[in-house]
Amino acid sequence: MASSNLAVKEALKANPVPSSVDPQEVHKWLQDFSWDFKAKGGKYPTKYNLDVNTREQFKLTAKEYARMESIKEERQYGTLLDGLDRLDAGNKVHPKWGEAMKVISNFLEVGEYAAIAGSALLWDAAQSPEQKNGYLAQVMDEVRHTNQTAYVNYYYGKHYYDPAGHTNMRQFRSVNPLYPGVRRAFGDGFLAGDAVESSINLQVVAEACFTNPLIVSLTEWAAANGDEITPTVYLSIETDELRHMANGYQTLVSVMTDPESFKYLQTDLDNAFWTQHKYLTPFVGFGLEYGSKYKVEPWVKSWNRWVYEDWAGIWLGRLQKFGIKSPKCLADAKKDAMWAHHDLALLAAALWPLTGIRMELPDEEAMNWFEANYPGWYDHYGKIYNEWKSLGFEDPKAGFCPLVWMMQNGHGIFIDHTSTLPFCPTLSKSASNPSFLEMNGKRFAFSEGHGERQWLQEPERYEFQNFFEQYEGWELSELVKAAGGVRSDGKTLLSQPHLRSTDMWTLEDLKRLNIVIPDPMKIMNWQPVH
């Protein structure tokens, strides 16, 4: 078959049909579309010289891109607006998952949105017209994906029995302590820095590595939990990602052949891997395992398949002979793949009023599953959850607050200054090596050494206000109310520590806890270490 097709192709090439033009026939001229002039070159700072001769692997023209994407859109919206609508798909989702999607899709939207500008930065930096054309298609894809991820929340908002949170996460996320982290990795990391560094963050690590578990594997968890909306959208999103991965690969190619450029690559690769992993590994694992009733496979196994064996093996491994090396942080990343999402889940539960979703603590069945797949889980985390439950975690009248419990038991929560993730040094099982530093009169906390290095090397990149600094002094219920965390009855909270429709927490219940947000780097007795 293959050889006869080749013959047909060759015959067509010799005697082309004169009345039509194949998109690839136009694409072959793209490299001639540009010209040289004095001011030509990317407008933004970069260490690299991007090769003008780099090729693009998918050979799309604007019109053919439009035809292909138009089919994707027809199929996706057709499924959502006809098929799934008639099936009442919005109400066939397990609530645990329907709640998790409030945050998952909204946070993914942050990345897709930032990637519009990130791809535009690459479109600007690339010198090869084929590459520019490929990056432009990615700009448009990212517009599409922002539409799509937002549409999942919009669709849930219209069809799911608890639209609160799906409709207004764009406002309430401002007070979610997990949100700055996604802004850093998926937002700023994609576009605020050297175009090649951004490309490695966006295309080589976030897309080629983490979107596979985040967008592809996640659809298995969705389907297992009754959600056919998300697979319809996310699998279609991912049909664009392979072109982005190819864009990222060609970004590498475009600088690898130039020794002057190549010498900068490993630093950016190591930093980008840690930047993305530091957020995505815990966040995705937390979303899948703690946002689901029906489990598919342990997150660490998905991580091993998609991140370690396939991404590291097929992508980086093959590049080793051209001088690419293992990221120095790989061993720590693997430890995180095992435990970081459990650390994050504990903190998310402790911070539940600020998440904007209804979440429940793991039940017995879930605890057994965690212990079977993560030996040692119960003694470290399960016991705490059981204690919280017995103290009235779910009960609005019990006056129990896990945050207070943590402080009373000597488990301080700090915010890592590079990743912006909250961490608790005394309860962490992931790769942890906390340090607390003072520079120019300000105190900084770091959960581990790789992030601390990034800050020490480029401190001016991380001048920001963390959650505690921004909201220090706010009484918790006041903050939740101001940020739109109350339902339309004016009193019931958006966030809940259980999934029932009875015994829902109100602003009053929260106010009774009498929590005023502190800045731990201010109130504790910090002294220099000699």
Binding site: E25, F33, W35, K63, E109, I116, M140, V143, D162, A223
Partner: protein, 391 residues
């Protein structure tokens, strides 16, 4: 055909029953309007706008943003991902922009796909039916070869100039519209080459390669001012407001429209070329949509409905117009010499009066759409005189 091994919550009887038992009789929340916190802007949000508005995760330093605090990771040196430093224009709410064409990704891409499908059919019919036989040989080889080919570079250059506008624009709905305008420019350049590839297949004497076209674009006096504009705006201008205004609001609305409409679309027919007008119609539509967006952004949002910075913005638009209009005048003046080389001359169309009428049409249209609403003063007759001195 699925293997059926995978357990899906929606159709697995046990799971479906468990889920059903958890869904309460009444919804937990009755309000289903999306982003209820959003400001209306100058009209009610369309469904798409409700889906997209405030998707941009920005700091509250940008007026109108919903987020709080600072961007977390910045460029080395401290530049934030989006910042008010990126343009001299000022707004009380950058999130007020609404695309007048109400395009969002799906209808936008569907429209372009339809344009592509129609083009495929039109080109096939044009080629199979022998319509090409009408085409004047000199028009094909002296105009569609180097001149039309060179215009590809103008479109491609303006496409590239849009990269920094997509990168730095200050709000979501604005960025979507700009991205579409940039994509249209890339498409316009590619469609010129699509047509040239077809001509190369049909006519043994037509060379679809771009050597002569590029030589014309980079060396010929007729393109010099236009090329220098494109190079400047692509390589040296960082202010995204200035770029958008200079590209769509000045240069392309005068020079681009003249070349596409008054020259190629109008004159192709008298040379027996029925294909070029069809291809250029698409580019004209794309420009029209860009022009409407520019009108909405600059005229409506930043001037008419801007409560604080209207005077400030008008000052910059005037200054930019004063900077770019002379260059556009020079571009048109240099281009207009091409009439000398036309293989077919038709009285009333290619004569001085006919060409002057074409010049007047584009400049009057520009004046009506952009200059008058913004109270931008310019000497229309001097413009026409200066351009026509190149005839």
């Amino acid at each position: 055909m699925s293997t059926g091994k995978f357990v899906r919550g929606m159709i697995d009887p046990e799971r479906a029953a468990e889920i059903r038992a958890l869904v309460p009789e009444k919804p937990l929340e009755t309000k289903r309007d999306h982003i209820p916190f959003a400001k209306r802007g100058w009209r009610r949000l369309t469904e798409y706008e409700a889906v997209m508005l405030h998707a941009q995760p920005t700091t509250d330093a940008i007026p109108g943003s919903m987020d709080v605090g600072e961007s977390v990771q910045k460029w080395p040196g401290g530049r934030p991902l989006f910042g008010v430093e990126s343009t001299a224009l000022l707004s009380s709410n950058w999130f007020n922009f609404r695309d007048p064409s109400k395009r969002w990704y799906y209808p936008y891409i569907k429209g372009k796909s339809e344009d592509g499908q129609t083009t495929e059919r039109v080109m096939k019919s044009w080629a199979d039916s022998g319509d090409y036989g009408m085409m004047n040989d000199a028009w094909r080889n002296q105009i569609l070869g180097p001149v039309y080919g060179a215009f590809l570079y103008e479109e491609f250059g303006l496409f590239n100039a849009n990269s920094s506008t997509v990168y730095t624009a200050l709000s979501d709905l604005l960025r979507m519209w700009i991205a579409e305008s940039g994509f249209d420019k890339d498409d316009a350049a590619q469609m010129i080459q699509t047509q040239r590839v077809l001509l190369g297949k049909i006519f043994p004497d037509f060379d679809e390669s771009l050597g002569d076209a590029k030589k014309s674009w980079t060396e010929a006096a007729m393109w010099k001012p236009a090329r220098e504009f494109v190079e400047h705006i692509w390589g040296e201008v960082y202010d995204w407001g200035e770029q958008l205004w200079a590209i769509h609001g000045v240069h392309d609305h005068i020079f681009g429209q003249f070349v596409r409409r008054e020259f190629f679309q109008r004159l192709a027919g008298i040379h027996g070329d029925t294909l070029t007008p069809f291809i250029q119609t698409q580019a004209l539509t794309y420009h029209q949509q860009a022009a409407e967006g520019v009108t909405a952004l600059f005229g409506k949002m930043l001037i008419n409905e801007e409560p604080i910075y209207s005077t400030h913005n008008r000052r910059y638009l005037r200054a930019w117009t004063n900077q770019y209009l002379p260059q556009t005048t020079a571009a048109l003046k240099a281009f207009i010499g091409v009439y000398k080389d036309l293989p077919v001359k038709v009285d009333g169309i290619t004569c001085r009066a006919g060409v002057q009428a074409s010049v007047e049409r584009v400049i009057d249209d520009w004046s009506r759409r952009f200059a008058e609403p913004l109270d931008l003063k310019f000497d229309r007759n001097a413009f026409v005189r200066e351009v026509m001195s190149g005839y």
